[in-house]
């Protein structure tokens, strides 16, 4: 990704080695098509008014399809600008495993869901928890380990993270 970061969120993504594209509801399917490496699976995002159109993704995959996929496309409920952190909900449609198992995670975030810092991100979770305790992963960059004597990216979680920022949502 050669684009220059325009926001603190993008600058944080760049620092952690993640890439990003900006798009709108209208350009969403094309942006996803450009971002995925096939085979790709996705969770349904129609409740956000986002349609995968002709993008080469299997929406709502079986566990076997998930295991075979190179890319997982899933929506994240919050972006945290200061660290480029993504809030992945542990929901019934499988956002958590789709973000976790494939080597490449394409995270979809609505720009209106990007908050300034960790405290603001945790405050949003706290508000949800007040209604009903739930589950969420704050993910920052690719998975990594130093346990084999040198830093390696892509362990049990994704090796690459690409963020699709939907500007008009």
């Amino acid at each position: 990704m050669t684009a220059q970061p325009r926001t603190e969120f993008e600058a944080s993504l760049q620092r952690q080695g993640s890439s990003w594209t900006r798009t709108t509801t209208e350009g969403f399917a094309d942006a996803v098509a450009d971002a995925v490496v096939e085979p790709a699976v996705a969770t349904d995002l129609s409740e956000w008014g986002l349609d995968f159109g002709d993008a080469p993704v299997t929406v709502d995959p079986t566990p076997a399809e998930l295991l075979e996929a190179t890319t997982g496309v899933a929506g994240v409920t919050t972006g945290i600008a200061s660290y480029g952190t993504l809030a992945i909900p542990s929901d019934a449609k499988g956002t958590e495993p789709v973000s976790l198992y494939p080597e490449r995670h394409v995270a979809v975030v609505r720009e209106s869901d990007v908050v300034a810092d960790v405290q603001a991100g945790l405050d949003r979770v706290a508000e949800e928890f007040d209604a009903e305790p739930g589950s969420v992963v704050f993910a920052t960059g690719a998975s990594s380990t130093g346990d084999m004597g040198a830093l390696v990216s892509g362990v049990h979680g994704p090796k690459q993270v690409h963020v699709v920022v939907v500007e008009d949502r």
Partner: protein, 733 residues
């Protein structure tokens, strides 16, 4: 050398040969990253304060919070079991797996599960256990114990892991690089993750109000272990409970920085199970959103001694520990031997003494407690501000009191202490160094000849454990105080002086390193100070470092009584030995009434700090020796660094025209009596090797050091003698 000491020395030598290189590279790397990350983090102190306050409150309210966790988890649909001890926890966990008919269990990293030895219990019950954290996986394959709280396999290099995997798994192509090893382990473990019946995790935090388990990981294995199988068992010590999600923020920003220098963990997972995420049955052809299956969640809260630690005023703050490993990474001894020497049955590093004493008992803590030299480098590193050296001292005291009496008569006459009979004689000898020094000077040079003569060294080694490869301190016949009196006392009369100071003649300055004391007197007088050197007892540092807490407390009171009238008369207390100043400014808080502690602490200065202040107030630097660009290599003292005082020495030397480079090592390795002890001599020299190689790069610089032990160590490492920086300023030099 006694058999016990010889065994310990052999064990340390073996670890220096086999594990030192990997441990040292990894811990010093993480330590450097930590310094960088904290320097960039403006809210560090504020976050530490907040985290500390939250932990204090949570442990205070622990019984109530345990009840609250139970309510919340049960309301979410999970189960809570509070296990009294390891056997109780293991029984419950094996019952859960038996009920599920589980054959395979995948685990993410959890030190609490190591403490329980739950893997062995599960294997005995017929369940195959797979560690999915790659460090834990390496250890599991090797059949070893973790060597570090955060990096269990930190003692193994890439080559050693490759050798292990190639022999154990016999892959088609031999594995070589870290990437190949990582990919192999991931693919191997994935097969077991997808077929596992139960996933087990630990918990970094448990949130009482919502019944949430918080996990901090980088690999993603805890996420997979928690949400792939339909049954999740989380194991956590009761101390992991925080009241609510509102208390979480400071910890999330501290834990990664403290552990590895990461600004934020890769994965901060907050699960309020049973989670909504579909259980993954990889043989099913139903889409994820339609997957069925009941999720089951068990939170096992482990007491295993923790509620007793909570009632123990000295061990209680151990429970604030968030297991980041910063105390290990910043510890010079740990950097050289790792957790296989600096650790007990389960836990490793400085804070391990508190954990082992509380969880496994004093015997386990006694195995490695001596490796804490009290250098205090971990004090500023701890993200929850635990006084780790103090915990080590208290536990040492308890160990001392538990030992059997033998050969006491040998040191009885030398040891006017308040300690029980039966403690280690070497410790008692070093703990009473003030008396030893007084006798040494009174009988010098005879005492020096006798002490260094073969038979005496053999006896000292056998009975006191003093290694004969060390040069002993050479006592001066004329003490500093005798010299001062002989010259007619103060050269600057009180009436002509801008300030009056009491120079604290610690036993080393008074009896051994007398020159630095003389230089200090001349430097202060050159700057217009009226100097007095009253008789003041040893500060208590020597007994404290041996775990002789009661004796140290008595010394503190005596020192205070000797100095308070000077403080009341408006005199400053000037201290040459940094470890004694650290007593006045830090440890005396434990021994003196608050007002007394504050009064003495505020009136006391390290000698170069004092010179800096005098120059700042307008004293004439022209009265001191001019550096003329003279090149020096300066080694600050560990406790001086912790107090932030090293900068004054650097600034004064710089102002006076010296060209200064400063060492970056955490500690010289001598650490008071530590380097004298025969079982630790080689480790002490190995740690000193870091300082040696740093200064060897500057052969043309004169070496100066602030601490007595640092000077002794540098004298052992370099041919030219080492002086105190104040000697460079001496107008009479």
């Amino acid at each position: 050398m006694s058999a016990e000491r010889r065994l310990k020395a052999e064990r340390i030598r073996h670890l220096l040969e086999t594990e030192r290189d990997a441990i040292r590279e990894n811990t010093t790397h993480m330590n450097r990253q930590r310094y960088d990350a904290i320097e960039r983090f403006e809210r560090y102190e504020a976050s530490r304060e907040a985290a500390r306050a939250i932990k204090e409150d949570a442990i205070e309210r622990l019984p109530e919070l345990i009840d609250r966790v139970r309510e919340s988890v049960e309301a979410n649909g999970g189960t809570v079991y509070v296990a009294e001890d390891a056997a109780d926890a293991n029984r419950y966990i094996t019952e859960v797996t038996a009920e599920k008919g589980a054959e395979t269990l995948v685990k993410s990293k959890s030190m609490t599960s190591e403490e329980l030895e739950v893997n062995e219990a599960l294997e005995t019950a017929g369940v195959d256990v797979y560690e999915t954290d790659l460090g834990e996986f390496v250890i599991q394959v090797a059949g070893e114990a973790p060597s570090h709280l955060v990096g269990p396999s930190l003692h193994k290099s890439t080559a050693a892991i490759a050798e292990l995997f190639n022999a154990h798994f016999e892959p088609d192509e031999p594995l070589e690089t870290a990437e190949e090893l990582t990919n192999f382990a991931r693919d191997y473990l994935l097969e077991y993750i997808v077929e596992a019946d139960v996933g087990m995790t630990g918990a970094n935090f448990v949130l009482a109000d919502s019944g949430t388990v918080v996990l901090v990981t980088n690999e993603g294995n805890a996420r997979k272990s928690a949400v792939t199988p339909d049954t999740h068992v989380a194991v956590a010590g009761v101390e992991k409970i925080l009241p609510s999600i509102d208390d979480l923020a400071p910890f999330t920003e501290l834990i990664g920085r403290a552990a590895t220098g990461q600004e934020f963990p890769q994965y901060l997972t907050m699960l309020s199970p049973p989670v909504d995420s579909p259980p993954l049955d990889f043989e099913s052809d139903v889409p994820l959103s339609e997957a069925e299956g009941d999720r089951d969640f068990h939170l096992v809260l482990v007491d295993n001694g923790r509620m007793e630690m909570r009632e123990d005023p000295q061990l209680r703050e151990t429970l604030y520990c968030i297991r980041c490993g910063a105390c290990a990474n910043t510890c010079a001894n740990f950097q050289h031997v790792g957790g296989h020497a600096f650790g007990g049955e389960t836990y490793t590093g400085g804070i391990a003494t508190g954990w082992e004493a509380g969880v496994h008992g004093l015997d386990s803590a006694a195995e490695f407690n001596d490796l804490c030299t009290g250098c205090s480098r971990c004090v500023n590193a701890c993200p929850v501000k635990i006084d780790i050296p103090w915990i080590n001292t208290v536990v040492r005291d308890r160990i001392n009191r538990g030992e059997d009496a033998e050969l006491d008569w040998l040191v009885e006459g030398l040891t006017p202490d308040a300690e029980p009979g039966g403690m280690d004689l070497g410790k008692r000898f070093f703990g009473n160094f003030g008396t030893v020094a007084r006798l040494g000077s009174a009988t010098a040079p005879l005492s020096n000849w006798v002490a260094n003569a073969g038979p005496a060294r053999a006896l000292a080694e056998r009975v006191l454990g003093i290694d004969r490869r060390r040069d002993l301190p050479r006592f001066e016949r004329q003490t500093l105080r005798a010299w001062f009196d002989a010259r007619g006392g103060a050269a600057v009369p009180a009436g002509d002086a801008d300030r009056e100071a009491v120079l604290y003649a610690d036993p080393y300055t008074d009896h051994v390193q007398v020159d630095r004391g003389k230089a200090a007197v001349r430097v202060l007088e050159a700057l217009g100070v009226h100097v007095r050197i009253p008789e003041v007892p040893e500060s208590g540092r020597a007994p404290l470092s041996q775990g002789m807490v009661a004796t140290a407390g008595e010394r503190a009171s005596e020192v205070y009584r000797s100095l308070v009238e000077h403080v009341d008369a408006g005199r400053d207390v000037v201290v040459i030995e940094p470890s004694d100043l650290a007593m006045f400014r830090q440890e005396y808080e434990k021994f003196l009434p608050e007002a007394s502690f504050e009064r003495l602490g505020e009136a006391s200065y390290e000698v170069m700090e004092y010179v800096y202040g005098l120059l700042g107030e307008g004293a004439d630097a022209g009265e001191l020796a001019d550096g003329r660009g003279e090149a020096v290599a300066y080694h600050s003292h560990c406790q001086q660094r912790t107090l932030g005082l090293d900068a004054y020495t650097e600034a004064v030397l710089d102002d006076l025209g010296f060209d200064v480079v400063t060492s970056s090592v955490e500690c010289c390795g001598m650490a008071g009596s530590f380097g004298y002890k025969s079982e630790y001599y080689e480790l002490s020299m190995d740690v000193g090797g870091d300082l040696q190689s740093e200064f060897a790069a500057h052969p043309d610089r004169e070496i100066v050091a602030s601490g007595t032990s640092c000077i002794e160590q540098l004298d052992a490492l370099f041919d030219d003698g080492t002086r105190h920086p104040v000697e460079l300023l001496d107008p009479g030099r």
